[in-house]
């Protein structure tokens, strides 16, 4: 191709990853620059699809097409140049990248929105196939290839161990159980999901999961495995014999192909080091957004934000930054939602990381911290409100729907606990005819958070 005059030629934006971060960046650029050449590269699927729906694909509640969150003609309408291939190497100084097919693509601005892949289990030999055990038993639940492999392997009647007490683990366990596999849900920590739930809340979730008929075990670290007669024996305090294992011990940025690219990657987290405008700290013109970007959290820590809506915000911010805007990506107040089988979960504000407690106090003992908590008797419905000096700082709600925006406004307005309890129904978001919120006689207010 003849080189165009750099002064007049339309810039070439290359975006690796067509999931939420990548595609939002591409749309942001197109909406403001109709002349730009925009190339979107993705190996996983030709269209953006909702990774969060893997469980619905697995159980047949949605088809892959249902999970495509933009109309199928998006690329045509937006004039995106589509490349369905994997990027194998990047040379930041030369401004080029190489695809698996061998093709070299050069860019003016590059966005890496390559997301995450599953954290691999640290067991030697877990991913090897041998003559004795030719079939692959080790699975994950993050990418479409992961999904397809598990979908093909998981047959009713088999037994499976899902390892890891996080959000992906519980989703995988639910759909495997639904398919008719004997499902063991193994959590290393003393209770389920300790980053967000305290012991009482986690017990409500675990009870609910057991009620569905799963074997849900907490405090169950697995140190290794052994193959025996075509099956897998998991080694922990006790032995557990299963056919399949799903490793759900977290995700890591899918950045291993960047080694030697000139783009700085944090050695601990694997996240691409970015400045406030999401540009690489070491490679000008290269940006990162979504799960793979190392960003600053409100508490000052630097780590990736592996969440759908922040990936979207980062994608938009990175798109604007690539257009030359003065961008300062800042994460606001924490909020999130999830679902544990039928139990919906909403959180907003400051909910400290819970660790096993002795007595009432938790991570933030003394110093005016208090926790208000109640559980609706006989139902998987709880509310927890964390306050300091009587002012609310964070909310956790299980089993009913809450508008996190209202909670966040109250936190921002420094509302006292009594006021909030009297107004809680204004933040309710449940279907009509649902029982309203009420403070129960069994509600407790304990020191510590």
């Amino acid at each position: 191709m003849p080189a165009l005059d750099p002064g007049t030629r339309a810039p070439h934006y290359v975006i690796v990853g067509n999931s939420i971060a990548g595609i939002e960046a591409a749309i942001t650029i197109r909406n403001r620059d109709s002349a730009a050449k925009i190339t979107v590269i993705s190996y996983e699927h030709a269209h953006p699809f909702a990774r969060v729906s893997l469980m619905y694909l697995f159980c047949g509640q949605l088809s892959l097409k249902d999970t495509q969150f933009y109309p199928e003609d998006l690329y045509d309408r937006m004039r995106f140049n589509r490349i369905s291939d994997r990027v194998t190497t990047v040379d930041a100084a030369a401004g080029t990248l190489t695809l698996q097919s061998g093709t070299v693509v050069s860019w003016d601005k590059l966005l890496l929105a390559v997301g995450s892949s599953a954290r691999r289990m640290p067991w030697p030999g877990a991913y090897e196939e041998s003559a004795e055990a030719p079939s692959k038993f080790m699975h994950h639940f993050v990418t479409l290839p992961d999904f397809r492999a598990l979908d093909a392997a998981a047959k009713p009647g088999m037994s499976v161990a899902v390892i890891g007490g996080g959000l992906i683990g519980v989703e995988a366990a639910e759909v495997l159980h639904l398919r008719g596999l004997k499902t063991h849900f193994l959590v290393r920590e003393p209770w389920y999901f300790p980053v967000a739930l305290d012991q009482a809340e986690a017990e409500v979730v675990a009870e609910h999961v057991r009620h569905h008929g799963l074997d849900c075990r907490t405090d169950t670290p697995i140190d290794g495995f052994e193959r025996r007669g075509g099956r897998v024996v998991l080694k922990g305090r006790e032995e557990l014999v299963v056919d399949l294992v799903v490793g759900a011990i977290g995700v890591v940025p899918a950045t291993s192909f960047l080694a030697g690219s000139g783009i700085d990657v944090n050695p601990q987290s694997g996240g691409i080091e970015t400045k406030a405008n999401l540009e690489s700290t070491t490679a000008p013109g290269v940006f990162a957004a979504g799960d793979c970007a190392q960003v600053t959290w409100p508490d000052g820590a630097r780590r990736p934000e592996q969440i759908w809506y922040t990936s979207r915000d980062q994608g938009r911010a990175a798109g604007a930054a690539m257009l030359g805007d003065d961008v300062n990506y800042r994460r606001g107040t924490w909020y999130n939602s999830a679902k544990f089988f039928d139990v919906e979960y909403t959180t907003a504000g400051y909910i400290p990381f819970a660790r096993p407690k002795h007595g009432a106090g938790g991570t933030a003992d003394g110093d005016g911290w208090q926790t208000w908590y109640q559980q609706v008797p006989g139902a998987a419905v709880t509310q927890r409100i964390v306050c300091r000096h009587g002012v609310v700082k964070g909310f956790n709600g299980l089993g009913s729907r809450w508008n996190h925006q209202v909670w966040m406004r109250w936190i921002h307005e420094r509302r006292p606990l009594e006021w909030v309890l009297a107004h809680m129904n204004e933040a309710r978001f449940d279907e009509e005819f649902t029982k309203p919120f009420a403070v129960l006689p069994s509600a407790t207010l304990t020191p510590g958070a």
Binding site: Q61, L62, L178, T346, G349, N403, Q405, E431, E432, F433
Partner: protein, 354 residues
Amino acid sequence: MQSGLLSTYQNPTQNRNILAWVLSAVLMGFYVDLYFYDHLDAVAKLLHLPSKWTFYGLLYTLGMCVGGYFMLKKHGNSRYHMLRTVSLIAVQSILGFLLPLALDFAGRPSYYFSYFFPLKYDILFPSSLKDMPVVVALWFIFGSLFGLPLLVYFKGKRTYCSWICGCGGLAETFGDPWRHLSNKSDKAWRIEQVSIYAVLALVFTMFGLIIGDAYAADGSALREVAHHTKSFYSFAIGSVFSGVLGTGLYPLMGTRVWCRFGCPMAALLGLVQKFGRFRISVKKDMCISCGNCSTYCEMGIDVRAYAMANEDIKRASCVGCGMCAHVCPRGVLKLETSRDPGPHGNIQVWTVDL
């Protein structure tokens, strides 16, 4: 909050495959026979029922009961779905079947009290009104002109389409397994806007002609035209569109084909809804784009597009079945009728200062 996961795509009849085509053909065949032949009269006679229409009413009511049972097995943990399903079945069983049957056996003229103009287009014809007892005539006139529009203004079209209507009732119960098959494309939306308002215009034209006809002289051209329009409407819209296609296409195009593309009542009440209070509120910045809401919208509304854009949903076509809110795993959607849009209007980035 939905109880348990749906395995919709794993069931061969729900998958638009050969079985679904066969089922669709059977349903259409049944309706063709019902409307245009008399075989079912013989069946009715065997069962000592007055006519094939009573037999059809019996099948319809049974279909709704059985479908409603399965529907509630899936979604009955929600009180909204429990109540509206019970309401639909009760209205059909009592007002749509038992009461007309009882009136019939008593030798009195029978009426379906749950159907109004313009869905039951002939109910306000002068010739029909003149034979009705005054209370009955008032019920239909008041209901059609004031009662329903007022209800819809304050509470949404759902009050009729998803709580009362027999067509809606069949879709919500017997048809529930196929709700995900509705077409969500922009093109379908454009077709829908043309076709549904065309039927509405046709109903009003026909109504005008019939009224004119009441004053016209015998043998006038107007009488001729009115007569032809009425038989065309009754054949093309009343039988073929709402019956043969409306129900026959359940396994292929989803359950609300008639309600979405043809029903004049839905069109009219939809216009009221558009200016009324009903909306689906979207919880800001919480949607994970999963696709459950759009997939399970039987009216083919791309709910997800609104949720992703943080935009409340105010659509004339929405029948307020509430399934989007129900299947959303993140509780993003809420059916609302309050006057004030509530405290969730604006989006801001807050920070917690500890």
